[in-house]
Amino acid sequence: MSPQVFELVLLTIVTASMPLMIAALGELVAERAGVLNLGVEGMMIMGAAIGFAAAYLSGSPFIGALAGIAAGMAMAALFGLLTIGLAINQVAAGLALTIFGVGLSGLLGSDFVGLKREGSPHLYVPGLSDLPLIGKLVFGEDGFVYAGFLLVALAALFLGRSRAGLALRAVGDNPHSAHALGLPVRRTRFLAVLFGGACAGLAGAYLSLAYTPFWSPGMTAGRGWIALALVVFASWRPWRVVLGALLFGGATVLQLHAQAASLGLPGQLMSAVPYLATILALMALSAGTRRNAAAPAALGQTFVAPR
């Protein structure tokens, strides 16, 4: 494999892992506040549909990304209303959000099926971007990639160092204690869920704006679910999400290359690799550690203020 091809493979791995990383990061923050949002897939696909539509109509990928974020947040707000406002079971509401998002995105995106637009612009720094091997990898990515890594760094700082991040972790650890101390449990959770929605929307917009610059119904193809698994895989730590996403992105890209190289393995088996890998990763993680020792203590528990 020549260095150029090698760099190209690495580039596609980064590209393939980006939507997983961004969506998983958002879900991670929501889960650290104690909210399990199984609607990632639904928020993501709405971000993809709305993001593509907005970018197509405005001609600007930036506006597309913003619209994708807004769509994800709107979906997340709906989820927040159900689970935080009305104390509805988070699992059921998350499933509803996914079913709703998949259907609605198909409806809203139906006019845009088959349309194409240019991919997102990539950074170009004269000299640096032309460096062999790492030039494009470090200095030639599209804006989403840099935004994604910035988000991870900010989230890690926020959760680990800031007082607001401390309050968020407290709410995810024990909402009843947090309430007794006067921390705004429901507001904190709602904001965390909104952040999760924004990230999922951005990840979806990335799919339809940069990854495959067109919209097709159902294009998230389970990536939202894989992002959920990534959060577990990362033991709820932001930087480990990067690692996990790159591993999964790598698996996806390698199976594509293996298909292209026609190794004689059935294509369906190759397509199943990400899903199989998710199951195996969850198994390996559970077998290796104490059960969910890293999970926020109050994950998935609805909170109703006591009297």
Partner: protein
Amino acid sequence: MRIDLEPRAGRSLALDIGAPAGALAFAILLGGIVVWLLGKSPAQAFMVYFVQPLMEGWSLQEVAVKACPLVLIAVGLSFCYRANVWNIGAEGQFVIGGLCGGWLGVVTHGGAGQGAIGGWWIVPAMLLLGALGGALYAMLPALLRVWLGVSEILTSLMLVYIAELGLDYLVRGALRDPKGFNFPQSVTFDDAARLPFLAEGERLHAGVALALLAVAAAAFVFARSRFGFEVRLVGEAPRAARFAGFSDARLTIAVFAISGALAGLAGICEVSGQIGQLVPTISPGYGFTAIIVAFLGRLSPFGILLAGLVLALTYIGGEAAQVALKLPNDMTRAFQGILLMCVLMADAAARYKIRLVSGSGA
């Protein structure tokens, strides 16, 4: 602005029935708004979706046939969800059930294996294989949860994609009709491998009777049996269930087996009763729609029967609306999503008195 929730003192029958009915009405209202936004007539859409299919005998039968897999799967899911076990991979168990039973239909094609004893055994064996296949496939997430503590939500869902890809692979490979001009489909089954119809010249196949049987059996199990008590107790108060001496692991496996078997049964009923051969896609998302059916039916067997008919109606009406109103097929799925949201909100309204309070607060 914030929402205050005050638990209601007791449940009332009026709320138990009124809440889902109100949710349905509200969802239809929202759906009407979406239709209106798409530039179509909501009134006309309502007629096409919810009224016309009920006006004619053949379309009523069509509704019942569509409701059959939904009800079968949802009855199974009600065991899981009541026990707080989240099997969301019924779609995959449906596919595997259809595949396993369908395999027998393929290999008995053209009278093979029917010589001396005849073909009477094929359909029962197909049903058995379908149920068994679905149950075994459901064992994967169940055992992973019991042995390793892996979340069954994620594994069961991932297994849906894998099942679909597996079916696709086999229908294009080992199970493809050799004389089928390379179309990705199996041979069509012999009559002996087709579910019989309940009456001559009608559309209702025997699967509909199985669905009714499943509803009645589930109702009895929940009302009278210790197993039904265990399921409810584990979901309601897991620690109390352990105190009662019920094993969480055993129960998880049992409810997964039941729901997998019923989903597999639904799959083979669809393949043998409706399609008559194996094709790459045998389900328009029944396994996921059944989740809505289970919740709309409030996880009670008879509620699920009604809810299954309502959701089947949206499928039939949706197909008609595509033709008559040029409404996209995704309208049906979006409406199903809206309906599930409304059902959950109605559930909250049945459990709490909900008040909007001005001013901020935690």
